[in-house]
Symmetry: C2
Subunit: 213 residues, 2 copies
Amino acid sequence: MLGANPPARQDNRQTLIDATLASVAEIGLIRTSVSEIITRAGLSRGMIHLHFQGKDNLLAAAAKHSSERYYKRLDQYLRDAKPDPQYRIEALIQCDLSEDGLTEDIVRITHEFQAATRAFPILAPYSDTRDARLRRYFEEAFTQIIIQTGETDPSQVSRDITTGLVATMEGFWVDFLLHPQDFDRARAARIVFRMLSGLLPDYFDLNGAKAPN
Amino acid sequence: MLGANPPARQDNRQTLIDATLASVAEIGLIRTSVSEIITRAGLSRGMIHLHFQGKDNLLAAAAKHSSERYYKRLDQYLRDAKPDPQYRIEALIQCDLSEDGLTEDIVRITHEFQAATRAFPILAPYSDTRDARLRRYFEEAFTQIIIQTGETDPSQVSRDITTGLVATMEGFWVDFLLHPQDFDRARAARIVFRMLSGLLPDYFDLNGAKAPN
DNA sequence: AACAAAAATGGACGATCGTCCATTTCTGCC
DNA sequence: GGCAGAAATGGACGATCGTCCATTTTTGTT
């Protein structure tokens, strides 16, 4: 029986986090009360205080968990991508628009926490770094490409393209949030690649990344 | 003294709306309680019930007012723009990134209401139509341009470009929301026009719209 | 089987929520 | 100046909020 107990503690901790995220996704952060969370978790009132010393810490843990889940998926897509920078960029875009990466629950949770940063400053780090990491991955890949084109100021150009692309992806998330049933993932990807092919026609076409020559 | 009283009623109504928006911008919708609103408005508790029959209706009125203020500015920019479609597009972009169109308060309020739609369904129409009108303006202008280029399917292309552009603008708002001090309006505009010039080089360059030829 | 420590329970607590209404104050007209 | 009606007040109300802790239950060791 050795080691059978410690994970039980972790189980309830995670159960609370899952219940919190489910509640935020379904009824919003405003209506996500302690009573709501413990009802969904099927646990008793005191568990939140025992594991998190209060509601704020639980919300922070939930935001952190959601953020880490996002990163994990991003890194998985990058590992599966071909090494050329345009394929890595394509992988990031596809990940951010995929059936498992962009779901109603995920986009709702993300935006709830983003908006709640003002009321719960403890949440700031987890709504702030999401695009920071995505941005870094994009910028590294674009810099590799821009250097090849012999641009005079590759740093500025790659930073600009990255900022624009991240903004566009962020906007598609908002689009999906407001009209999930009307959203067309393939069309969104096509639009992004149309933009990229206009900027870097040697590396992208309307279908995605082009083979390096 | 004729007519001096009727506006007083409207004054207090508007005072409540203004106080609500100020509270939402400063401390977020979650912390915007009835007590908070009436304290900011300097009015008594019962006024909300008298003018709006409840908190929900007041929030809806505040969201509506914020939405209408946005439209008003958009239409003003359009009236001041040259008639050619590329100039109208430039005007919409400049409006959405201007010092008076994109402020910390405005972007916070917009996103608070957007996120709260789940908890307060009564707010949906006002967070939903914002990009609908912007989208329509963009699409009308792009359609005019695309038709001139002799594209085989001008409707689809202009819809795609519109969707991408609206997403990018939306993303810049989120960017500004999260990093208002780091945000560079001129750079954001340059990035947008870089994208557009890649797609429609005859109508846009890095500085904005190009003169028709 | 007994014991100590950890985990889990669920009710009590004061604070605050939004709603509602009896009362007071203000306003325009006769 | 007095009256009718609208506007405004602010306290009372029950519900619900998040926190906390005395108690019970479970677990691992002897």
